[in-house]
Symmetry: C4
Subunit: 213 residues, 4 copies
């Protein structure tokens, strides 16, 4: 016992000191921390894209108001994903390797939101950039759905997670609204934008499914 390097204290979840050490199950702490870091950066670097007004008048400030509101909208979308990710991982009890990739996949699509926000803002809401903006909102919603499926596969059909997620009606409506918004953009950019804004509104009500189920 005294010569095994594994018998030390201070490793609160250390495996029992058997001959061949065994692996501990993965914990979700670092997955949450990494996701928090990436989402925090995505949500914050968008403000770096904001150009200062051309002059020091109130008119110049009002001139950038649409860009400003667009920034606020993207802030809300990324904030929604952070909130939902928080609720989702909170209800999760196990993760595995597939979870890590499904999570990175979600973060990848979210990381494009600052890019599409910038392009749409620069283009004054032209058709293609506005449709592309919708695309960069649609893809995270699909990636989030995949992440939920992978987590449920890992945690079991009878788990807290499955009960907590339920039918995810809000998620399905959101995906539908994004697709509708992209299509509408080709008729009128602002009709498409209205669909995107509708998604933000239905999520601003806190998601009580997991928290209080």
């Amino acid at each position: 016992m005294s010569d095994t390097p594994l018998a030390s204290p201070m490793t609160p979840d250390a495996p029992p000191p058997m001959a061949k050490p065994v692996a501990k199950p993965m914990t979700k702490t670092r997955l949450e921390a990494f996701s928090d870091g990436v989402i925090a950066i995505i949500i914050t670097i968008m403000v770096l894209e904001l150009h200062t007004p051309d002059s020091v008048s109130v008119e110049a400030l009002l001139h950038i108001l649409p860009t400003f509101l667009l920034y606020a909208l993207s802030f809300i979308y990324v904030g929604i994903y952070w909130n939902n990710h928080h609720h989702l991982l909170h209800a999760t009890q196990r993760i595995n390797g597939a979870t890590l990739w499904a999570n990175s996949h979600l973060l990848f699509w979210l990381s494009l939101v600052p890019f599409s926000t910038r392009w749409m803002g620069e283009s004054d809401f032209a058709t293609i950039p506005t449709a592309f903006y919708g695309f960069t909102l649609l893809m995270p919603s699909i990636a989030y759905y995949i992440l939920v499926r992978v987590l449920i596969a890992c945690n079991g059909q009878n788990s807290l997670l499955t009960t907590a997620i339920g039918k995810d009606v809000k998620g399905m409506i959101s995906t539908g609204l994004y697709i509708a918004g992209i299509a509408l953009t080709f008729w009128n950019s602002f009709a498409g934008l209205a669909c995107y804004v509708a998604v933000a509104l239905i999520w601003l009500v806190p998601d009580r499914r997991i928290e209080h189920d």
Copy 2:
């Protein structure tokens, strides 16, 4: 025992032993981690805005001294919010979905500080940018007040939080000074700036209300 939703806590990784798993209350760990991430980025990206001096002389360095001091001032404001946020969440025992949004709302306004700092610096303290800078300091103070109210509603009137916050005289004085500063800016930018600096000074004394109550 069987009807309490808090049964078998503290073993987050264990599979629930009951037929229908129940949700755990939300913990504040991730809220703190996400806020730390966002505030760390806000406070750090401001230095990216600092333009290097035009030449390699001491004069050129002194020429950017006002911008440098402005950066230091904004660093202090964001640092104040991190400190207070730390104290506030430290005294908090429960959070809910409304808390997440109130917190994101605070982070949104804080995220505009690098933008307003840049504009005020570029404009050499013109009236509108200096007033707008005050606005981006005022809004977080209001958002912070809302966050405190939401947290108290969630934690209860008799909670540690309520006792710790007390009357928040400093917070009310700060909000008043920001409003006064914005108004004074239209008379003289530096009078407004003096009000903002006064707020920084009253907060640099560590907040002992929560820590040592």
Copy 3:
């Protein structure tokens, strides 16, 4: 008992009851948190390098598709390192001062990936930038190997870590493919790039060595 430096562990905040306090062993929590932060920033700031299309047409969007795919590729590489780092530290029970430097060394080389990605993208896959991109992928793989050795030296040959890592065939194949890719670049950039892509593909299968050993 009195000569063990590990006495009274697990009560990190309690004042030591002995005359001369003794040091606790280092924990890996902060090493993980700092690495998560740096990797999260590396993976996210790459999107800041993406230039918006020149016009608002689908053609302009397709024109930046290679740059976009390059961004996705770099995202995957950095994601691979985060995943492997997660698995590696998960199996680690002790760290020491040498570990901190070996870890920073890995982070240093990873931090060059956004730079080399940008150069290769700007140069339209010219020979030297493409070889340099391979170099900035090769160096982290060597730094990762060093980190593994340092961790094994610290944790002992009989530790969970040693068992979990095994022969690291994937790691050796990756390093070989990077070297081959750099060499091939001087014949044809896209042959080199194909080698790099091959590495990404062999890692996208989740690493089950540590997780399920």
Copy 4:
């Protein structure tokens, strides 16, 4: 008992359920997390300053080699502070409000390193920028000293921290070398730079004072 909102489980370090709730001592977790975030960003955004070579030749790559080495040097300095901060906080058992400000003070000066690195690189190691670079290395070393004093005042003369820190000979030598380097810069920039490099070298040996005392 049943009507107090504080008697719930799941708050592992909750105060005992007395009539008037009492404050818990501050924990260092968030201080570490915030510092990790800020230092991670400082160390990573420096690579954003690296300009890609003008052409796609090896010569163009070699042309930016001094800037590259300068980046590596600044990476090492910030890494040294992270390492030392890690060791310091590891040995710390208590923090207070003054600690938060002393820590933010250190982070402020560290946040200027990317700025001074950029200026010195752009100026091809001119006198004033090189001296200013030394200044932005000197100030964190002073801020670190203040942080150590504040922590010792908070933890007590007999604490683990005091024992672990010892005389801090390395720290004093570093501060001396920075001052010497700044002075030497006015004779020859590279003599000053040599002093700065010497500091990096004496720290690259892991600090065993706290770890193994």
